[in-house]
């Protein structure tokens, strides 16, 4: 599997009190552990099992994922605009690796 890449659509600016939409996608096979390779050997499970969105380090949404989440997961969640700062998206892999993306947002 290629190194996971994170893409997101988050507004650069928002008004205080506005609800913004956060769209995020990570490239990841989300291997369920159900498939077999050509030799008949089961391909081990390896998925993103947790997704967290923080705003200036405060948790906005945290989510537990299971094998029914599709490959290259594409998700939408929302956040209340409070202060300018950084929105961080974090994806936790079964492998223990963690993939993050930080985006700046200005709140006026």
């Amino acid at each position: 599997m290629a190194a996971p890449a994170i893409k997101s659509r988050i507004p650069a600016k928002a008004k205080k009190g506005e609800i913004i939409e956060i769209k995020a996608q990570i490239t990841h096979d989300m291997e369920t552990g159900q498939r077999k390779d050509a030799a008949g050997k089961t391909i081990p499970r390896r998925i993103i099992n947790k997704f967290v969105c923080t705003w200036n380090n405060d948790v906005i949404v945290s989510s537990d994922w299971h094998t029914a989440m599709s490959a290259n997961p594409f998700v939408t969640c929302y956040a209340l605009a409070t202060d300018s700062g950084k929105i961080k998206l974090t994806f936790h892999d079964d492998s223990g690796e963690v993939y993050e993306q930080v985006t700046d947002i200005t709140v006026e």
Partner: protein, 153 residues
């Protein structure tokens, strides 16, 4: 559908998989049942009886894709500190494992709505549960018809 899968009975597979846990050790695509979904829901939301209402499960009637079908769950809530949705749980009655995803929200979420794409092994009922800050649990469910299952089995 045969009850014996590679020498394992369904009961053996379920015993290995644990009550509602992800079927990591299952050797074949054993399918969940509504009962397993119920067991998982009880673990996730506790004993409170779920009432129908407040939860809008947005799901097609016929899946476009068994591998990545769009799902959205929206819950009617002011999302204030005093009255908000604490968690949204999505459960599938007919996938190899019933758990799909659980979303833990806060008043800072602004809106109680999440969207994602899920795998569907076959035609089945998908359920969404919302646990509120006052402890009440609300639910909605819908059947979705699937022609090409998405679990790679």
């Amino acid at each position: 559908m045969a009850n014996k899968v590679q020498g394992w009975s369904r009961r053996d597979v379920l015993a290995v998989a644990g009550a509602g846990a992800v079927a990591v050790a299952a050797p074949r695509t054993a399918r969940a049942t509504p009962q397993e979904a119920d067991d998982l829901v009880k673990k996730l939301v506790g004993g409170a009886a779920a009432k129908e209402g407040k939860v809008q499960l947005k799901l097609k009637d016929v899946a476009e894709s068994g591998a990545a079908e769009a799902v959205a769950v929206a819950v009617d809530s002011p999302m204030t500190a005093a009255d908000h949705v604490k968690a949204i749980h999505v459960v599938a009655e007919g996938n190899p494992a019933p758990g799909v995803s659980s979303w833990f929200l806060t008043p800072r979420s602004g809106k109680a709505e999440v969207a994602f794409r899920m795998r569907l092994a076959k035609t089945q009922v998908v359920r969404a549960y919302a646990v509120m800050s006052d402890g009440s649990v609300w639910t909605a469910k819908q059947e979705i018809k699937v022609t090409t299952g998405g679990c790679g089995g």
